[in-house]
Symmetry: C2
Subunit: 444 residues, 2 copies
């Protein structure tokens, strides 16, 4: 393997002094400065256009299909641009790190103040306010992991009070397969699910709308080049198979889950909707925010196939995450969504590279555009809980919102907004945009 297949390294595209000729990209605190350059699938609303790839810069989108027609780049960057112009990003994801790096560098140079390509690129900008978004990729398989030991312990305590953290947790990056068809892109509105629920003292279950509808704040990892069936991906090469990261809300019906999940795991409790954010932040954009992967010395250390020097030195990501809640009444009164929890991806017990290495160690094949959820990213403190069941202690401690309304689980009309961002000394802040979802009433 060449160096290029490993975790992305810092280069000129990360220079915090870079400024763009797109003014809004230079505004302090903007999610999409020139150091970010995340990808989405989009089209302008109400024009009957085909979907195409785009890159966010400030309040605008570089329309990759339009840009491709002007043939501004050469070599790998041109090949990557052609792939990025397609309706979904699977072909770009399949190309791999050398192509991604070339396209990012070419876009960074073209969007910088003083770029001679400005006259060619500027007509390819679309205001984000005029866009609608599709799923960034055709997601073949969606796997959800369980990488926060804090979440596993908190939720385990609620479902199995005497046995919260199972003996395999510190050895196995636990994961399971989720549902691809019901993954939607932000903003997603979905019906409250019905399902079998059974009160502890009832003799029989009933079919009813879920009354314990919850969220799970996660990140979603988009797979780049896949592997052949039977050919595991070694951990040292794992990150060369990862394109980028989105926010992910794994909506969960806790009452349905409690009754159905034994012995084969969650099913209808989670497959009615999963919402991801619009923009895929690339692994390369996240390079300045890498941090060491630390595990308490008293804990079992990972088996060799889950261990590498690179993973230890910089396997984790310092990504700040927040949850905001807005009721229908708050929305009517013009009150913004209210922050109810904050956490960070660096608390995860297993890294992205470990997820990829574990998923394939048995020969399972990943494909470009597959999505890996990190699992609920609760941190060590109570206010860092990333699901309402944890934040409200199983629904026993309601939250009070600025409207005076109390909440434990979601009511009809409620909206949840997830946000993510990175900021470290000596870097420019970059953001993930938002992941927004709204609960509609159950059907008849």
């Amino acid at each position: 393997m060449t160096r290029s297949s490993h975790a992305p390294m810092l280069n000129e595209t990360h220079d915090p002094t870079l400024r763009s000729w797109v003014d809004s990209a230079n505004w302090p605190g903007h999610d999409f400065p020139i150091q970010n350059l995340p990808f989405a699938s989009f089209r302008r609303r109400d024009r009957g256009e085909a979907w195409r790839g785009g890159v966010a810069i400030g309040d605008a989108i570089v329309d990759l299909a339009a840009l491709h027609c002007g043939h501004p780049f050469d070599g790998l960057a041109a090949e990557a641009l052609a792939a990025g112009a397609e309706p979904q990003l699977n072909a770009l994801m399949a190309l791999g790190p050398a192509h991604w790096r070339a396209l990012r560098l070419a876009l960074s140079r073209a969007l910088r103040e003083g770029s001679p390509l400005r006259a060619l690129v500027e007509p390819c900008l679309v205001p984000q306010a005029e866009a609608e978004y599709g799923l960034p990729a055709r997601i073949g398989d969606y796997t959800d992991f369980y990488t926060s030991i804090h979440h596993a312990t908190n939720i385990g305590r609620l479902f199995r009070p005497d046995n919260p953290l199972l003996p395999n947790y510190q050895w196995v990056p636990i994961g399971y397969h989720g549902r691809s068809s019901s993954i939607g892109v932000s903003p997603q509105a979905f019906r409250r699910p019905r399902g079998q629920v059974k009160a502890p003292d009832a003799a029989a279950p009933v079919l009813a709308p879920s009354r314990r509808l919850d969220i799970e704040l996660e990140l979603g990892v988009f797979v780049g080049p896949g592997n052949a069936l039977g050919e595991p991906i070694p951990i040292a090469e794992a990150e060369s198979h990862v394109f980028g990261i989105v926010l992910l809300n794994d909506w969960s019906a806790r009452d349905i889950q409690a009754w159905e999940y034994q012995p084969l795991g969650p099913f209808l409790a989670k497959n009615f909707a999963t919402t991801i954010s619009t923009w895929v932040v690339t692994l390369e954009a996240l390079a300045p925010y890498r941090v060491p992967f630390e595990r308490p010395a008293a804990d079992p250390q990972p088996l060799p196939y889950l261990e590498s020097a690179d993973n230890r030195a910089r396997g984790a990501f310092d990504i700040h995450l927040s949850i905001e809640w807005q009721t229908a009444r708050m929305a009517e009164q013009g009150m913004p969504a209210h922050p109810v929890a904050r956490t960070n991806y660096r608390y995860a017990y297993w890294t992205v590279a470990q997820m990829v290495a574990h998923h394939t160690v048995n020969g399972c094949n990943l494909q470009p555009g597959d999505l890996l959820g990190t699992g609920t990213l609760s941190g060590p403190k109570p206010e860092e809980a990333a699901a309402f069941i944890e934040l409200t202690q199983g629904g026993k401690q309601p939250l009070t919102l600025p409207s005076g309304e109390q909440r434990t689980f979601l009511e009809d009309g409620d909206t949840v907004v997830l946000r993510g961002w990175c900021e470290r000394p000596g870097t420019v802040r970059i953001g993930f945009g938002e992941c927004r979802g709204t609960v509609r009433p159950a059907g008849k």
Copy 2:
């Protein structure tokens, strides 16, 4: 809903006296008489051809792409033929029962003795011996159910001796999401998976090739027209969303499963390979073999959303199933695969219609080409066990094969062949072909 959306009824295509001008289709006991007409995706080997849909008749395949060029049919049958000519059958599956019925009737008439279309159809026949097969559909999502109460009890006893059948089993058609990417079509060869395994008395797990590699004899149900997210499919309409059925082998690494499966269900123990048979037998072809769905009167009866008069009267299928085992030595010595178990789909505790109604009751959307596994179809008797872990009582009672070799779980080079067929008084026997898979040694 019109009558057409419900379970297929008997019609002239089921007449047991029909004979085809394709001689081999009339041979007694052949899997593919004119009453069957199953679908596959195929191409002739070594010709660089595109994949296309085909229909089995005796030892031949009707090449639907070639037939479509001759425009032999009108109306719905012509539309269905055009869809069936595509490389995979998703478009045909999406059309629904009226189209499927029209195409089946047109093909049945064209293939009967004395058909005036013989001269047009005969040049479109390809010998099965010259064909290779692809997956019949692009499988978006694969869900695996757990519909045999005998399997659930047997396996539960091995994994949880004091608590074999969980309290939800008789109420909930338990299912979970499986892996689409590693589904292959028969004949499939795959590497023995490696994974974390932990001996009961060991302090820590190790990474090793599975030593308890098993099969699960299942059926796979291909979804036809899907449903919109948030719109459940009522049980009375469920079968109008089902295209047909294949054999399915859910290869399972029991040692990996035992260590990983708590609390989110099986993952790497099953996602390294799943093999399905080549030919999709349509629900309409199976109409003569429908039987009442019977549940012991002492058991809880299904909740209303899982109950219908039609499901009660004919919700089950009388499909005979068998498992054959062949070691590498047997193959070398020219010994055929040896039958080791026989069971029947009619023993299932939940029907196809109940799987569809349950899967969507929360609003989860199914899509054309999705695959639903029935779960391991063990019957009530010990010799009707549909997995080796049951057949050998957890690996304690080896089987002796005709070569004199003993087996509990699969050794490298072993081949397993699943077969399925229907035969009832007053009908012609129809078959599913075979589902064949071979274990290769683990990689390095």
